[in-house]
Amino acid sequence: MKWALLGLALITTCSQAATLEYKSSGFLKGEIEASLDILPSNYLNSVQKQISIDEIQLKSDALFVSEDLCKINEGVKFGITKKDKISISARLVQLAESNTKEFNCGHKTFRNMLRAVIIHELTHVKDNVEKISTNADFQRIVGMKKVQKNSKKHLMNQNTVSSPDAYEFENLEESLAVNTEYLALDPEFECRKPATANFLSKKLGIKLAGTCQKNYKVLAQSAFVEDNYQLSVNIDPKRIYQVHYLFAGKGQALMSRWGHAMFRLIVCAPFRKTVGPECMDDVSHHLALSYRAYMSDINISYSKGMFGQYPSQLFIMRYLEVQQEYTKFDLRDLYSIPLKLTSEQKKDFLDLTIERFWTYQGRYYFLDNNCGTETVKHLAAALSDDESKLIGSITPLKIYNDIVKHGNDLTDGNVDGLNREQMISGKLIVESMFEELNSNYQVLRGHLESFKDKDFKKFLAKTTAATRLQDYERFSDASTNMSPEEKRQIVLKLVYLERYLASRFLMEVPKKAVAQMNKDQDLKNEVMKMGESMKTLSIQPWEVVSARYGVPTAPEFEIQYPKFVNKRQGEIKMSIDSQMSNLQNILGKKYFAKELNELEELKKIKKLTTELVNQVSNIQ
């Protein structure tokens, strides 16, 4: 026993540290002793004061009627700390002694709950001196908008579903105390909240039990309903070659003017025996980590985005999907910069990744809690204090500049000062498809009448399938005397361009439907039905695999996930059928006559280009 306990007398924990005083029954005394035994012997060394622990009838004990640990009324307090005076609920002490039943929630028994309360309250006393709850890394891990000096600030994370005890979100102090309870008492805590556990273990000196098996499996989310949550990926640090800062250049939309900040995990293919540079080739296994606003509405509201009404979450997607999204559909460059992380930092980063993926739901503010700030907080939690100070910016481009700055030494290899070509050849930039499309377009300009705008973007804004079809028909007639090689080249380029134009057109139709929907109640109904159908497939990771709390353990994952995948197949088919039906009804509305016409013309283009392809294929 590490602590000398003398009943009503003062207890000195060690010569220069805190003293504990309590007037308690034998039972509570024993529980205090047991709780103190769990904590390190120097836990209260910094508290150079006398701490009293008393069992008293708290006001809220009147509400504390249930004998079911999982059905405790709201407002019930188990303990209160005022400065160095700890009061423990007499009702809790009584239940801890008399009720030995095991429950399927929280600390499982009233006895454990009592110990948790003792640890919780002692942690408050310690925190009052050491200010652990306002530590910057702690705040980054548990989810604060900005690093605060005030420990009474609410947490931004409010995902009660994945929390062991929603009281952790009350403020930073409570977050520290609640998480410390679980660290001390639940051997699974270090696997369920690994980043929090690592931090607290180091700060509080509470040893990790090392008895649970951490589950590094995450689920790939996708904008394509048929792919969403259909793939699980193991991001065990041993299988990750590098972590990259992934930065999408400036976009056209208001919310993407500053670019988009993400991470890329270079996940090695399962067949590889060693983890090294060769894993750069395993692109289909790479993942993108992207903090985004979770929008289940069909319509994006800027005001909701301004005022934090969308949840901010860490999305994990296949890297190639993100590459398509930015380089093809948004025509933006994608920068992939390898970060210089030690193996310990990489592990911390990935621990936070799984904890965030399964437990985090903050608030997205377009201006000050966005992809940039969330990304910096995530990275800074893994970096040393000195390193994290080097990334002082919050916009994706400026974060990029901070990261690549040679003097900061944050990248794996020097990237600072490389020109664009060097970065492309070094695979540090994946180019937007714009240049390739533009070069094809410029060649076609000499042959097709409606391709007269020198500026490809102007052409994109104005072109219609009908005018292009006329061009292609003229070209088909006029090209009979053209050299076979030249004709083949032109056909190749125009079909390539048509593929892009068709996909671009198809992407725009739903946006127009949303923009028009307020003009017509029927249309609105169809759009809303479509939105509802999509919503049924819009699901959170913690709904896919329901953990006791935090990150699911391997058994929780392995039992639930396959069942989800099986059930999902049917739901996806139904949703797609329903959406197609809605889309047909939408396109039948008068507002979409132009779109319907465009579709018809695109079909004709397809027919004509197929003929052209056959012609060039038969050129001997």
């Binding site: 692109v283 190639l320 048509e498």
Partner: protein, 137 residues
């Protein structure tokens, strides 16, 4: 969009003579995977294998991964036609390069491909089969 994609792929064909060369065993100087792929699609015996390959593609790559490969086919074809690329290690299109390497490492898949595409280098044979698989969707 799928149909347009097929059109695109077909548009890269050079001439049937090359396709016949690949499938009938004559050594071709320059091989276009698109031409060979269109011929492969016409072979009834190829259908089950291509279907398996497509299914594997979907499961492992998802919609976006397949789209990426389709986008990359254009560049690959140009590179092969131009003689810039002669082996899987030289392929400059990352998603295709990875998939080709996976297939090359799979003996059963390679046996299937060898039985359908008689001639050409390993790269040309795999490129033909993958192109056909993507076109057959």
């Amino acid at each position: 969009m799928k149909i347009l994609l097929i059109t695109l792929a077909l548009s890269l064909s050079i001439g049937n003579v090359f396709a016949q060369n690949i499938l009938q065993g004559t050594t071709a100087v320059t091989l276009s995977p698109f031409v060979a792929a269109t011929r492969l699609l016409e072979m009834t015996t190829a259908a089950p294998f291509l279907s398996t390959l497509v299914s594997a593609l979907g499961q492992s790559r998802g919609v976006a991964g397949k789209e990426q490969m389709k986008d990359e086919l254009v560049g690959l074809n140009s590179d092969i036609e131009a003689g810039i690329v002669n082996s899987i290690g030289e392929v400059r299109q990352p998603a295709l390069k990875e998939f080709f390497a996976e297939i090359a490492a799979d003996e059963a898949q390679m046996n299937n491909i060898d039985s359908m595409v008689k001639n050409g280098t390993q790269l040309q044979k795999i490129a033909t089969a993958v192109t056909a698989a993507l076109l057959s969707e």
